[in-house]
């Protein structure tokens, strides 16, 4: 990395320093004990530690418990429509590449109604950081099965238990062309959650982080076997991947060295349902970003915009027929 020039140092010398409170907005209306709170705390901590300017940061969400996220961040936010968080975020990034764009989406929002957008967002690989808050249930609408609900889950829509195997968001993402960053975290390991969120933020391209999240209201016992047995959390570590803190290493002794450049091994690890792999499964910084591929250096002056609009409108203009002599 080349050192900063004196001018760059000068420009940063007067940068404002932010505290956690500068990113907090209102009291979250999530249930007490909800894993969304842990994600919120980790992301606010990331914003503070990275010095992200609130007016240059955007959180985009769809619909669901997780999608209330932008309301609790004192930054720009866009609480979008169901399943459409990703295309909105892509539009924001395309128009304003200078902004840092995060996406908060749930298992229903992303993996059901928004599944098509999810797959193509991965393929487009725009520079976004996507958090999939996966509590394996529709919580906001009071317990309906989501695509990631385990088979046999009794809900309002599946009173005899769900019939289908749960969709695995990690293996799906790892199967899409142009995937560039896939990680998994759990809300009950805050130190690891923060480390993974930070690594995702620093990746250039679409960083997809699935966060396995408790829903104490509708699925209170679902994750207990993993929560109470640290051995079922498989800590992925590697010199080129996650370097977990000593506290995490001490608690999570089921550890696996995994090189995040190995996509086939990543797919194998992601398919293991006996343990929850936590860490960076795959990272490839060489995948090009869509905005870089099609971005134009041409300045959008008022004249350029006007000419472009006129050209587009002229395509559909019905011109009066010239009178015949």
């Amino acid at each position: 990395m080349s050192p900063m020039s004196a001018t760059e140092c000068l420009l940063q010398m007067c940068d404002e320093r932010f505290e956690l409170e500068d990113y907090q907005s209102g009291v979250p209306r999530w249930c007490t004990g909800c894993g969304d709170n842990a994600i919120l705390a980790a992301v606010q901590r990331l914003c503070r530690d990275e010095g992200l300017r609130p007016e240059k940061t955007v959180f985009v969400s769809g619909i669901g418990c997780s999608s209330r996220f932008p309301h609790y961040m004192r930054t720009y936010g866009f609480h979008g429509i169901h399943g459409r968080a990703l295309p909105i975020a892509e539009g924001v990034k395309m128009a304003r590449p200078d902004l840092t764009v995060f996406v908060n989406t749930g298992d229903g929002d992303c993996c059901s109604i928004g599944a098509a957008h999810w797959i193509h967002a991965i393929r487009y690989n725009m520079n976004l950081t996507v958090f999939l808050h996966d509590n394996q249930i529709y919580g906001l609408t009071k317990k309906q099965a989501s695509p990631t609900s385990p088979v046999g889950t009794r809900t309002n829509t599946t009173p005899r238990g769900s019939y289908l195997e749960a969709l695995n968001p990690l293996t799906v993402t790892l199967g899409v062309q142009n995937v560039s960053f896939v990680a998994q975290a759990v809300d009950w390991a805050p130190e690891l959650l923060y480390d993974i969120v930070k690594a995702a933020y620093h990746h250039k391209g679409l960083s997809f982080v699935r966060i396995v999240q408790r829903c104490p209201e509708w699925m209170p016992k679902l994750l207990d076997p993993w929560l109470h047995d640290p051995g079922r959390v498989q800590l992925l570590h590697h010199r080129n991947g996650l370097l977990p803190g000593a506290g995490s290493v001490k608690v999570y002794t089921n550890q696996l060295e995994h090189d995040p450049s190995d996509i086939n091994r990543a797919r194998e690890i992601a398919s293991n349902t006996q343990v929850v792999p936590v860490g960076i499964l795959y990272r490839n910084p060489e995948v090009p970003c869509y905005e870089d591929l099609i971005g134009s250096d041409k300045l959008r002056t008022a004249d350029v915009t006007r000419a472009g609009l006129n050209a587009e409108l002229d395509k559909h203009t019905v011109w009066p027929r010239e009178s015949h002599a």
């Binding site: 080349s2 050192p3 900063m4 020039s5 004196a6 001018t7 760059e8 000068l10 420009l11 010398m13 007067c14 940068d15 505290e19 956690l20 979250p28 007490t32 004990g33 909800c34 894993g35 709170n37 842990a38 919120l40 705390a41 606010q44 901590r45 809300d187 009950w188 390991a189 805050p190 130190e191 923060y194 480390d195 408790r214 104490p216 929560l227 109470h228 800590l235 570590h237 590697h238 010199r239 996650l242 370097l243 977990p244 803190g245 000593a246 506290g247 290493v249 001490k250 608690v251 550890q255 060295e257 250096d297 300045l299 002056t301």
Partner: protein
Amino acid sequence: MDAASQAHVAFFLTGSRPTDHLEAVEGLGLRPAVLSGYRELAGLRYDFPLVLVANRPDGPLVQSLSGLMDEALAATTGDVHGERVRQHGLRIEREIRARVSNGATGLLSALWDEAASRLESGAEPSFGDSLRRVRTAITVDGEVADCDAALPARLLRHAWSAVQAKKAAAFRRHLDRLVLKLSDILRADFERSKAGRDASHLKASVGTGFGDAFDFDAMSHVLATTARTDAFPEARRQRIRHLLAVLTAQRFFASPDAYTFIFNSCGDALEAFRGRLPALVDLARAIAVAELEIDGQYSELRHDALFEQFGANGLDPQDLAAFPGYLVCVNAGQLPAAEHARLMEILSSGLPIKILLQIDDILEESPDGQGALTAGMRNRQIASMTIGLSDVYVLQSSSSNLYRFREHLLGGLTYRGPALFSVFSGASGAASGLPPYLVAAAAMESRAFPAFAYDPAAGTNWAARFCLEANPQRDLDWPIQGFAYEDEQHQRVSEELAFTVVDFVASDRRYARHLARVPRAQWNGNLVPVDESLSRERKGLPDTVPSLLMVDDHNTLHKVIVDERLIREARRCREMWHSLQELGGIHNSHAEALLARERRAWEEHAQPEAEAHAPPAPTAAAAGAVVMGTPAPQEPDRSPGEAYIETVRCSTCNECTTINGKMFAYNNNKQAYIADVTAGTYAQLVEAAESCQVAVIHPGTPRNPQEPGLDELLKRAAPFL
């Protein structure tokens, strides 16, 4: 010792040729034997001539004619006509090369047309078809340059212009963006002003189509009474106007009256740089302030004082990197002392000035003919000396090697600080009837002018910065070439000959007096090759005499002996080559001494032990050791029975803070800790421990023995203690 051998030794020691045993070489037109196959360069396919590509801004800047033809032939010779097209393509390549070596210049397209029209007359009918096919496959065009005295400056100017064009385009884009954004700020300010909300201005902004559809007076009135009119301060407006003036008046890039950045004198370049420095600092400051203004971050309170002294110490290399570099082309043979001092001033000052130091002659003799053989040594050693400055990009190369060094050439031009390109053109060979390419290549081959590049930006040590790879057989003192000839019995004889600096000097007619031809009848075992002679240490009267194999214009083999003065020169040249080898990590004396010491130590101690004990199997812990990112937090000292939270494991679920917001609080990372254990009851501590999703609350023992229901609470608290 017989009379002939005595004469040989006498010549070796004194340089005097007894006529009855030795012959003069003047007039024989001798050249080193290994150069016998390079008489007609135009008939050979090699790197030259070059095409200085002008129509591919994102492609290679320079290509060899033979490389271009190879690509074109590969693309066109896939069918049944392939061999015919290949033959015809190579014929026109040879014709172009011959024309260029005879002095023809111009674009490749023009030279192609001239060569084609000459060859087509009288050629077979399919010739035109072949040429059309090959020509279609060649998509690049540009000036064709042969390896001559003009090549170094032409090539460097061409590469420099391409690098500057890219830099200028990026700078222009940046500048245009700043100007547009600053203008937008002023425009927005105007739109919110009284004049901007005036009815006539509103009407003009709607256009003519719907001019009658609105009541602009009413609209103006409404805007004047309801919309905010917080125009920004006049000082800011003035500042932005000043920034716009500086940005639009700059003369560094793509400006109608832009500065010149190519010079033929170090003094002129230095003077120009210093004269333009205030304008440069102003522009750099304007760009920095404009960025802050556009971002809405400029604060007079904080930034005025900072930028007032901006550039007082000049600009650092990173800041200067965005601006044009300077190119100076000078010839070492015409460098007055003052200019030499300016050259060293530039190189030691860290300024972004690139200098081409062209050396046409590295064998010019000192006027008095005494001392070291080559007065040109001073010029050819400037590059080696400049490496000592540490932060200068240094490239030394013969012009014959410039094409292969093109990436290093670009490296120097894009390097942020000063760069020195020391290039031997080979032009001095003309006096000896040798083409510049051959002289330049021989200089590099013979270690007289080794090629190297020193890039300070490539790393922090010599291994990363210094590159010696271009030199042939760089592990050896002298490169070894195969040589075959026909003897008196018409039998083929093959030998391996070292090409030394003596071979290089021997090809220059000015040094013929240091050579003497030995008649065939006197060839004997006392005449040893120069490299062998150099490897022997003479302690008394020499019993052997160094000799060379050379050929005359008819390719007849001759053996010539050389005097000691040339051998002394060769020794000096070899020592300098050894120094470069060490810098390049070849036969590094420190490394070899260290290796020898370690080997001795291993043989004395470690080897017996290693043989006595089988290697231990790696432990499981060592095999799977985790590389940790952060150390474990220090565990605070706690008294027995004290309530606490494992704060780093808290998942911020709000359970405990909801139970008692005074007893439980969040820290800076929004993770819970016990803020005041006296602010609540033991019952609340137990309840919080039970509610905690990740079981990180430990309630300890009760502080108040009178608290009701304590027995029950202690039972509930037991799992969390």
